[in-house]
Amino acid sequence: MVVKIVQIILSPILALVVGVFFLGLARKIIARIHWRHGPPLIQPLIDIIRLFYQKSVSHGRMFDLGIIFSLAGSIVLVLFLPLGRWCPLSSSGGLLVILYIMLIAPLGVALSAGEGANPNISIGISRKFILSLGYEVPLLLVLLAVMTHYKTISIMEVVSVQQSTSWSIISFPLFLSGLSYFLILPAILGIRPFDVSSAPQEISSGPMAEYGGKYLALATIEHAFVLFISIALFVNLFLGGAANPVIFFVKMLVVFVLGLCINAVFPRFRIEQAIKYLWKWPTLLAFVGLIITLAIRS
């Protein structure tokens, strides 16, 4: 019982630390790829401290509550994800709950930012939801394939079966699904080439346009959580989880750096190009993967 409570308190903190570290690492690695020196590794932390000390302008009650709502959704979601053998809420839920709670984070940001009544925000939110329409289809197919293959909805069981046999990214029908998940990972994270919703040059950073001070700090923390969750889900489903959190974070780091290399060199898609891409290759791969899995398993 005590161990459980400690885990429930510790895992969001760990997720936050790792997420903020990833944000710093992203800026450093992108700088090195651009042949620059880059900011110090703790630059996002400095930014967050600065933003918390700044005065901020609120645009209404929902503006305050929405961002907290989205942050709460992300923190709850972390509790359902196994970090290594750690999983505070392993006995309940599973992949279906994760699918549901994953929607809360963008919804909260949309509710909060929509209160700002800035045209750039409206465009950003609509782009965000169109993009999530794009990646939710392959994501659902991928998760269906995983659930069919292991005949369970519990993410903990998926991890333990993979540890006794082999990672699903190198097993036959599931590597298609794994590849598909990796292809939509930038879209889930909202990084280039899929940063259509937060494009600073086109729509003044979209939903973030009216955020300043504490709101922007909370939004940055929220972004760190989203970064952590989507990569942790990939590691759990396809890279076989890990025996302890340290190895887990190393696996996450590898996936993240691979994603960053895509992020650093590609320009931004337009929204219809993004949808065209997402509904073509990743969906096709995920669909074929699901069909083969069904054929083998039935």
Partner: protein, 190 residues
């Protein structure tokens, strides 16, 4: 960052964080913008100082006004400045915002920008080299350390003076005053 700064971080985290996380909104009124892209990209890499460009005034805390300021852009500059959350710093870039520069006898430009919004520092020159922005940033660090970069406090305290100067050039302003003004109600103040 060297090791003897750690105690400073614990003593005054707000001051240190303000120093090392300057998010800049560039107001490109005229010629000065051509010096900014080399500063923020690979050639001079402003990000190693924690200086990055942001898209909206709400996220920024450093306002860089480059080049001459015409009457029309002054309106936008004031609105942008008032939207930035405190604490905020302003730097004028080039000789035109200082005293009019080569536009000293123009009918359509502002000669002294610091009559309309408070300026924390100037970069003189026509045009200054991109490195001058880094010199300005390091000077701004010193000013923040000594609590001398208090333009936003001055703006709050002497708002009536600034508002009067703004109205002298722009006529009646269509936005309500940022801080309460004591004399007769004007504009859409209730």
């Amino acid at each position: 960052m060297d090791r003897n700064q750690i105690t400073k971080w614990f003593k005054a985290p707000a001051k240190m964080a303000n120093k090392y996380s300057l998010h800049v909104i560039y107001f490109c009124t005229g010629c000065g913008i051509i010096e900014v892209p080399p500063v923020i990209t690979s050639r001079w890499d402003a990000e190693r100082f924690g200086v990055i460009p942001v898209a909206t005034p709400r996220q920024a805390n450093l306002f860089l006004i480059t080049g001459y300021v015409s009457v029309k852009t002054l309106r936008a500059i004031i609105r942008t400045y008032e939207q930035m959350p405190e604490p905020k710093y302003t730097v004028g870039f080039g000789s035109c915002p200082i005293n009019g520069g080569m536009y000293w006898d123009s009918y359509n430009t502002i000669k002294h920008l610091d009559k309309y919004i408070p300026i924390d520092g100037w970069i003189a020159g026509c045009m200054p080299r991109p490195e001058a922005i880094f010199i300005a940033v390091t000077h701004l660090w010193t000013l923040i350390d000594k609590e001398m970069a208090n333009g936003y406090v001055k703006y709050r305290e002497n708002y009536e003076y600034y508002r009067k100067n703004q109205e002298k050039v722009l006529g009646k302003l269509e936005w309500p005053p940022l801080f309460p003004v004591s004399d007769e109600p004007r504009g859409n103040v209730q």
